[in-house]
Subunit: 259 residues, 2 copies
Amino acid sequence: MNTITSTKNPLIQTAKGLQSKAARDASGLFLCEGEHMVSEALRAAPQSVAALFVDDTKAERFAPLLLQAPASAAVYAVPPHVLAALSQVKTPQGVAAMVQTPPMAALAALGPRVVLLEAVQDPGNVGTILRTADAAGFTGCILTDGCADPLNPKALRANMGSVFRVPLHWAADAPAAARALAAQGYAVVASALNGDDFYARPPLPPKVCLLVGNEGAGLSDAAKAAATHMYRLPMRGGAESLNAAVAAAVFMYEIVNRG
Amino acid sequence: MNTITSTKNPLIQTAKGLQSKAARDASGLFLCEGEHMVSEALRAAPQSVAALFVDDTKAERFAPLLLQAPASAAVYAVPPHVLAALSQVKTPQGVAAMVQTPPMAALAALGPRVVLLEAVQDPGNVGTILRTADAAGFTGCILTDGCADPLNPKALRANMGSVFRVPLHWAADAPAAARALAAQGYAVVASALNGDDFYARPPLPPKVCLLVGNEGAGLSDAAKAAATHMYRLPMRGGAESLNAAVAAAVFMYEIVNRG
């Protein structure tokens, strides 16, 4: 195991810089923090782990994790203050990894159940939707202009490793991506206050793309125009709307389990 | 309209102090921030609005809101720096209200569909669950020891006014409250990894209490023992769990709309 003792070390500076999206995009790397995320990275994409940083006062605790690291990953023991310099959280768990950005999937590789995010700007919502898509059995996710970066630290904390498991596709234009899927036989489902009752729907076809809109503005008119099905979730009480990640979850679980 | 120009004014100091739970409990007051929350308070419980604070540079914009205020509410024009002193957000919208804490409901007044939160500690989750319960058509919520305060500013931002609409009951002990509802004929539904498939369940009775556990530890053994039904949501991908508010939403929408 190598050691790094200074926060001025160039590798530490690089890792710290990955808090910014520009640096992530330029380097093709992002930072995973904490035992759970690092473990998920080592399990799902071991060859993509470029470097591991371990608190040198907790090396014993993380020994089992380090044994999972591929030979290609550089492992560094660092004092707590160096790990704290990398970290976005108040009390770092003692382990972090510099990981290669997951490759983007082709549209055709997203599988039969796709969630398409249009300008979902809260990183916690993007992370939670990825986690729910993974759990529910959605097979791909499309991110578009204006979406929070799924590799943003807050999005990573919310997705619990699902960023390594759900194929991600990048498309600049949400309506164009929705139209492309519709042309391939997907039902493109939009949530709309004036849509049909979702619970009274006829069965959906096997290929479904769920559109999720911006937290404040909802879906754009162009995205709604690209939808083949417009549904509303019943609002029985006085609430006017649902949180974006909550609405997406109700739609996804219902689509997978009720057709 | 009265005016207050100093952050040292005793009423401003009281309002600012309501950021702490101890002060909310002692005074029976809490602070609503922003146009949406203040408007919800004035709509749902006008007589509970004790005081309104309006940015004196934006008085015209908020005039329609002020017209809804009951005669019993004291209205104060304040300069932006005084409103900023009250506020928990970086860019205050220009209006805030000091509101009486909603009265707690009796157990018998919670109606047929109750969500019971056991040590749900994230204020955002408590707020989101209240908002979803309201939307889905749940008729009451039980909060227990270890739950985040639903009047915490972060919980209020997430609940979008549902705190005024969903009857809330306070119980120290979650398992005891669950047993009390079971004795009254409620199906007490717990989420458990080894439970039955939720989507293959026989119809539930008309009275249902959904148990929601702590974000990290899940439900206590005692709460599970009080359940009459144990169900699991299918996890088809690699995710091991769902966010607490997401799981609660899937359960609530399914219970209301599929029985």
